[in-house]
């Protein structure tokens, strides 16, 4: 293949554009990271614009983790994320698989119900009443069970399962496998891309858990990290506190943002390769 001048020019332009877009995306993150390790006085001296930190200090992080509540809330968030995602995946898979089998009696009826919930929802107060009457209020499970199966994610998984060649299932059935065994030993190993994708959606959703926590959980011990961080950031808005309390500085706020978002950013690259595989999987029928 001869690379002509046109091709090289084209490639260069693409690289430049992508490079610029990459910088624009990364810059805010770099800024937040830099401000979070720069002492507040330094930040002020340079008018709030620090891209490369001149002096590093982890004071803000130390202050953040000083109180017991940060550790506690970290634990709560990890619990919701791990256990929650597990519950999500089990339930969603168990529901998506039967719905993907075309010979399920009443299939279209259930599918219609599910789509119905995407379009219409009960509203905040009725949902609250349901959660309350099932006794979930003020427990950690209020953030896991009410949204255990996301209708959208369910449909994604269902369509993926539908695309698996049915010859596989027929041959498995001939060999005497029951449905659960087919699910566990054939469908799931083949579905890694979609499982990871949907799993990641749920994980990020749980990590960012905020609204559910505010609505259903009044016990501050059980608040997940996003609520606590919002409390820290919003303290500066409260006029009473002008008088008495220590008001969080820009540095502290940025540190809080980093603590909230870094774990997810760190996990992303490991899972990313499965996305790209998943995108092309359905495209080429082998």
């Amino acid at each position: 293949m001869v690379r002509g001048l046109e091709d090289r020019l084209f490639n260069t332009i693409i690289y430049i554009i992508l490079g610029l877009v990459g910088i624009v995306c990364a810059f805010p993150l770099l800024y937040v990271l830099s401000v979070s390790v720069t002492p507040y006085g330094e930040v002020l001296k340079h008018g709030g614009y620090i891209v490369i930190p001149r002096s590093i200090s982890f004071e803000a992080y130390k202050k953040l983790f000083a109180g017991n509540d940060m550790v506690q809330t970290f634990g709560v968030t990890i619990f919701i994320t791990v256990v929650g995602t597990f519950v999500n995946m089990v339930l969603t898979t168990l529901m998506a698989y039967p719905l993907s089998r075309k010979n399920l009696p009443g299939r279209s009826f259930f599918l219609m119900l599910i789509v119905f919930t995407i379009l219409f929802s009960g509203g905040i107060i009725p949902t609250y009443l349901v959660v309350r009457n099932t006794g979930l209020i003020d427990t950690v499970w209020a953030m896991i069970i009410p949204n255990a199966i996301g209708a959208f994610n369910l449909l994604i998984m269902k369509s993926f399962f539908e695309n698996l060649p049915s010859e596989l299932f027929d041959s498995a059935r001939i060999d005497g496998a029951k449905e659960l065994r087919i699910l566990w030993q054939i469908v799931i190993p083949l579905s890694m891309p979609v499982l990871l994708t949907v799993g990641l959606f749920y994980t990020v959703g749980h990590w960012n858990e905020f609204f559910q926590a505010i609505m259903y959980v009044t016990n501050t011990d059980l608040h997940p990290m996003q609520v606590v961080i919002r409390n820290i950031l919003m303290q500066s808005q409260n006029p009473e506190l002008m008088l008495d309390e220590f008001v969080p500085t820009t540095t502290l706020q940025m540190a809080a943002v980093i603590v909230a978002s870094v774990p997810v950013i760190v996990i992303y690259p490991f899972i990313q390769k499965h996305f790209t595989k998943g995108v092309t999987l359905g495209a080429i029928k082998g």
Partner: protein, 502 residues
């Protein structure tokens, strides 16, 4: 054949599972979260009391809470969210769902009226004699602020004293050889000098005069014309008037417009959010502002200011004399710092109700009040004769959340911020425009957010020259007709006149 029946059985099972949720509610109807029944109790188990409020930063363990719990044999549970929006969202859902906290922060009269008129709050009128210490502490004048439609729905917290005044960079004045400005014209001159004559002498034109959090930056200018901020109600010439309808408002707006077009104001003024304007102040680019002393004179603030520039020196100045006199900003005389309400469901829980009254009385009487103001005697403070001296302020910075009925401001500020006594007293002494906005409950059919947004937008247009000031009357007319402001004006005037007569 068997498979067919099996399928049908499964479908039937699934459908019946879905309808299980439709059973009639046989669970208990009492909304109370506590698992105790009302009536005779084992008198030694501490009564659980849940307080819902805005706030954050409660330490664990909490020495003040533990001390109160021990003194009253109760177990306080605080449910607090820092953001008022989040808190009220949660509160609305809870109250609609029947999940009432034991003590509710309703914060302002409007909300208290809303919940009260829906029958959610307990009318305290029959229990007034049980709350006498609290009433004596806040004073009758303040206590009646919790009364609406003849019912006592709220227990108010003593209002704060004013904090805001004009501040100017003394070192900049000295560098430029200027005197402290005392009139509006001098303010303009000083502002221009600060912007164009390089007061920090660093060779760069990087300074301005005025900044703030939006239109609030001009509070001191409005008051120099004798008007309150846009939308506030006060008494002028014996009548209740809204600042927007005050003829002096146009003059004030013209003055502000002049300042902006002179270039002496922060170009990003309207975009300042949260604490940005305070950060800008610390950075040292502004020299003539209207701020509370808490952001400048407190030890922590001074640290930040000196860190950037050790020579920076801020002083308070009296309000400049303007056509309206020399009033220094505004102060809401009908406000309270917090408003607490009790849910109606407590009617059926006389034991808990009694404990709640004890709590309010305890923090109002001297011993409990000292605890929630300063912490534990011997550990956080000590008494020298009659005077309180703070020995260790750490660990009890959150004490103000437990000052349910408030604190005697003069003593409190003197003890905690004695080093800033001059600034504190100065702020308290200044004459201000006395406004009544906290008093007002909105009339039916009036949507405040629309009108407020329109007012804000149009005022910004006027002061930035995007709309000529001679269209001001047209603006008022649109406001009164399209946005129903007239209804609001009439209702508010009536409520304020009634309040003043009392």
């Amino acid at each position: 054949m068997k498979k067919k029946y099996f399928n049908r059985f499964v479908i039937l099972l699934l459908i019946s599972l879905m309808t299980v949720g439709c059973t009639p509610k046989e669970s208990s109807n009492t909304p109370a979260k506590n698992n105790k029944e009302t009536g005779q109790e084992n008198n030694n188990t501490p009564m659980e009391i849940e307080i819902a409020q805005t706030g954050a930063g409660f330490p664990d363990p909490d020495p003040i809470k533990d001390a109160i719990d021990k003194a009253l044999n109760i177990k306080i549970k605080i449910n607090a969210l820092a953001s008022a929006d989040d808190y009220f969202n949660q509160l609305n859902v809870r109250l609609s769902g029947g999940n009432y906290p034991d003590i509710i922060l309703t914060q302002d009269r409007q909300r208290m009226a809303e919940y009260g008129r829906k029958g959610m709050l307990l009318d305290l009128t029959p229990y007034i004699n049980q709350l006498q210490p609290a009433i004596d502490f806040v004073g009758e004048d303040n206590f009646k602020k919790g009364n609406i439609d003849g019912k006592q729905y709220g227990i108010p917290r003593i209002p704060d004293v004013p904090f805001n005044t004009w501040w100017v960079r003394k070192d900049w004045l000295d560098n430029l050889g200027l005197e402290v400005p005392t009139s509006l014209d001098e303010i303009t001159n000083v502002a221009k000098a600060f912007t164009f004559n390089d007061p920090d002498q660093n060779g760069k034109k990087d300074t301005y005069a005025i900044t703030g959090g939006g239109i609030g930056a001009f509070t001191g200018i409005f008051s120099a014309y004798g008007v309150g901020a846009p939308g506030q109600f006060y008494v002028k010439d014996g009548k209740v008037i809204n600042s927007l309808k005050d003829p002096a408002m146009k003059d004030a707006l013209a003055k502000i417009k002049g300042l902006i077009s002179d270039g002496v104001v922060d170009p990003e003024l309207i975009a300042n959010t949260a604490r940005q304007h305070i950060d800008k102040l610390y950075q040292g680019q502004y020299g003539l502002v209207y701020f509370p002393w808490t952001e400048i004179a407190k030890v922590e603030s001074q640290e930040q200011i000196k860190m950037v520039n050790p020579d920076a020196e801020w002083i308070q100045i009296k309000a400049p004399t303007g056509p309206g006199g020399n009033l220094d900003g505004w102060y809401d005389v009908a406000t309270v710092s917090r408003m607490w309400s009790l849910p109606k469901s407590l009617e059926n829980q006389p034991e808990k109700l009694k404990k709640i009254f004890e709590l309010f009385n305890y923090v109002s009487e001297r011993e409990g009040n000292l605890l929630v103001m300063y912490g534990e005697e011997g550990k956080n403070y000590k008494m020298e004769g009659d005077k309180v001296v703070i020995t260790d302020p750490k660990g009890v910075e959150h004490s103000h959340y437990y000052q349910m009925t408030g604190r005697p401001n003069a003593e409190y500020l003197a003890t905690k911020f004695g080093y800033a006594q001059k600034e504190i007293d100065f702020a308290i002494e200044q004459p201000r425009v006395e406004v009544y906005n906290s008093l007002i409950t909105l009339p039916d059919g009036y949507v405040a957010s629309d009108a407020d947004r329109y007012i804000n937008e149009e005022i910004i247009k006027f002061i930035y020259g995007n709309r000529p000031l001679d269209e001001y009357d047209a603006f008022i007319e649109t406001l009164e007709n399209t946005f129903n402001y007239k209804i609001y004006l009439d209702s508010a005037t009536e409520q304020i006149e009634e309040f003043i007569k009392q």
